[in-house]
């Protein structure tokens, strides 16, 4: 399992469009991607749940990636988040 943490810098947090692209991105991999903030978590397969976490600027999000292609998947997700969130 790969895990990394990221602090959101985007002023509106994880909003609809980037969250949507994030879901698309995650679906390209076989690994299971989970976002965790405090006691809330959401799998990357659910756009609504992901948005429902209400992740806003300054929040630290922990991302776990588990599966056969976890290396590549974690790298892709982390890159996307850094560029867009």
């Amino acid at each position: 399992m790969k895990t990394f943490a990221y602090v959101i810098t985007d002023p509106v947090g994880i909003h609809a469009r980037p969250a949507g692209i994030l879901v698309k991105e995650a679906k390209q991999f076989k690994s299971t991607v989970t976002f965790i903030k405090g006691d809330k978590s959401a799998k990357a397969t659910s756009l609504m749940k992901l948005m429902g976490m209400g992740i806003v600027q300054g929040d630290e999000v922990t991302v776990t990636v588990e599966g056969e292609d976890e290396e590549a998947c974690a790298a892709a997700i982390e890159k996307f988040m850094k560029e867009n969130m």
């Binding site: 810098t9 947090g13 469009r17 949507g20 756009l47 609504m48 429902g52 209400g54 806003v56």
Partner: protein
């Protein structure tokens, strides 16, 4: 006559019958069903169909150049792929409910989740879920919502319009829009602005009984008159016809040359902020882009933008607007535009601080990323590169040296570069204006940034309300620097343009033309009115500027009261003249 107030989004007048946009209210059957499999199939078929509809809306918006609204439909498409949402609906059907019931409950729960959130952005997303719920119910009930707008041209009145409703409206039948809800950033408002459609939002009195009644929407005065009296009809009809005439006159100017009566040509270019403005450049018939502010690539990014990301944005503009010349200004951040990842120190006096070319020449790797992206993009169109905030010749030489290094690198990598790239600088400091002769030797063009030039020349911060009395946007010192810059440029075969706000000031068009300006770069909306102005000027009929003051066209809004003529060195002619002096008179007098 009844008159109702709202908040206007677009000026202008609409005259016609009201059509009330009535959203259907569905009676969902709560009876239990036997054939679960059949309901699951209906649900899935509706989901796929709505997803296709959303995709079609997305493509329509992309095609029409509206990236912002396109993003909404892209998100809608993805919401309909949401496994949790799909599973929760299927689960409800599994308990022997109809697909309609499952959609109502499942989507309503999802919308409620958003409504319960603290953040206003996320709260507003409940509207997206409700929009999808309604689209699903439309399909399941077999309702055709396209007919809600009616078949005659009308002023559409609605409680509110969801994004998908707004986009589906037949624009040919739309005279104006009035809604009870909505905000100035809503989809309705965005659409109204892009169509230049008279629109009122937040009109609290909206009611269904208005349907079919004759009305006039007066955007100028933010009100709707229902069954207006004869006087109002006559007054507003005349105003409406006048608007149409003016608009038609502007449309007539499309494709016409920007040339004075006596044959002097000037190039009318547009100022833009990014690929989103491509459509405006074309729609307003700009002859090129005189100022492409590249800041957006820095401001829209969380990290230092890569060379590839910049290249993609520059290429898009160059390619789509070819063969027009596109002048891209290199990074002009600092001063009031700060960016976290640049880690710039806080300054007490940022306007005079570490900004623009000063940052670029201090952080060469950062600068090179942009120059390489620009050079790579140059293969796709007609590129000009412009350096901002220049005060000294050595800065220009260093910029050119770094640019040549980038060129050599790219050539050795086998990358194609445009054959002819013009190099220019902004003249926005008094230092540059006064050294224009030396600077002109090094560049193909100058572009006068009149906003900063005025601020630095007059030592007046334009943002300060206390200084309004002292501020003079037509200060003779600024006009003199502009004239001298143009003359210096021409001595060295360097063409000279103006890209600040003064360029679009109709009261100065004649002045700038008589100074010999080669290009005016203004916001896209000002292009056609400016062309109309240029085509009325006859430079051959201008009296010698020094002989007598020349009357110029009145500005649209009266300028701030001009201060008394400069006291000490007031030229004698000015003191003796009894006639009011025009700008040329103030400049040359």
């Amino acid at each position: 006559m009844q008159t109702f107030k709202g908040i206007k989004i677009v000026n202008g007048i609409a005259i016609g019958k009201i059509k009330f946009y009535k959203v259907p209210v569905y009676e969902v059957n709560e009876n239990l069903i036997n054939d679960v499999a059949a309901e699951l199939d209906r649900f899935e078929a509706a989901r796929v169909k709505v997803q296709q509809q959303q995709h079609a809306l997305f493509e329509k918006e992309v095609k029409e150049g509206r990236k912002d609204t396109a993003g909404i439909f892209e998100a809608h498409e993805l919401m309909l792929d949401d496994e949790d949402l799909i599973d929760s609906c299927k689960e409800i059907i599994g308990e022997s409910h109809t697909a309609e019931y499952a959609v109502r409950e499942g989507f309503e729960n999802a919308a409620q989740m958003f409504r319960d959130m603290d953040d206003p952005y996320f709260q507003a997303r409940s509207a997206d879920v409700i929009d999808l719920k309604n689209s699903m119910l439309d399909v399941l009930f077999g309702n055709d919502t396209d007919s809600l707008q009616g078949t005659e041209p009308s002023i559409l009145v609605a409680e509110d319009l969801a994004p998908s409703e707004t986009v589906k409206l037949d624009k040919n039948l739309l005279l104006g829009l009035v809604t009870r809800l909505g905000s100035s950033n809503s989809h309705t408002a965005i659409l109204a602005r892009s169509m230049n459609l008279p629109t009122l939002i937040q009109c609290p009195d909206v009611e269904e009984s208005w349907d079919g009644r004759f009305a006039i929407l007066d955007g100028y005065n933010s009100c709707l008159h229902i069954e207006p009296d004869q006087e109002t009809i006559e007054k507003l009809t005349a105003k409406h016809e006048d608007d149409l005439k003016k608009e038609a006159a502007l449309q007539e100017l499309k494709g016409k040359p920007s040339v004075t009566l006596d044959g002097r040509k000037v190039r009318l270019y547009a100022n833009i902020g990014g690929p989103k403005d491509i459509k405006a450049v074309i729609d307003n018939d700009a002859e090129g882009v005189g100022l492409f502010r590249s800041e957006f690539v820095y401001l829209n990014s969380k990290t230092d933008p890569t060379e590839d990301a910049q290249f993609a944005a520059y290429k898009e503009v160059l390619e789509k607007l070819a063969p027009r010349q596109i002048i891209i200004r290199t990074c002009d951040i600092g001063a009031d535009k700060t960016i976290d990842y640049m880690h710039l120190d806080k300054e007490d006096n940022p306007a005079l601080g570490f900004r623009a070319i000063r940052i670029c020449l201090s952080r060469v790797d950062f600068f090179k990323r942009q120059l390489r992206a620009l050079l790579r993009a140059s293969a796709y169109g007609n590129l000009g590169i412009m350096f901002p905030m220049i005060i000294s010749k050595w800065e220009v030489l260093e910029c050119k040296k770094i640019l040549n290094e980038c060129k050599a690198e790219l050539e050795s990598e086998g990358v194609k570069i445009g054959e002819k790239i013009e190099i220019g600088i902004m003249i926005e400091t008094p230092a540059a204006a006064l050294c224009a002769d030396e600077l002109a030797e090094e560049v193909d063009f100058f572009s006068l940034g009149t906003n900063d030039l005025t601020q630095y020349t007059c030592a007046i911060d334009r943002q300060s309300a206390n200084l309004e009395r002292f501020s003079d946007t037509h200060h003779p010192a600024v006009l003199r620097l502009i004239r001298e810059t143009i003359e210096a440029g021409h001595r060295h075969n360097t063409w000279v343009g103006i890209c600040g706000e003064l360029g679009a000031d109709p009261s100065l068009t004649e002045t700038f033309l008589s100074m010999g300006v080669d290009e005016l770069s203004v916001n896209p909306k000002s292009i056609l009115p400016l062309r109309g102005n240029v085509r009325k000027v006859d430079l051959s009929k201008l009296a010698k500027p020094t002989a007598s003051p020349v009357k110029t066209a009145e500005p649209e809004k009266p300028a701030t009261p001009a201060p008394a003529p400069a006291p000490a060195p007031a030229p004698e002619s000015a003191a003796k003249s009894e006639k009011p002096k025009g700008f040329l008179g103030r400049l040359f007098g």
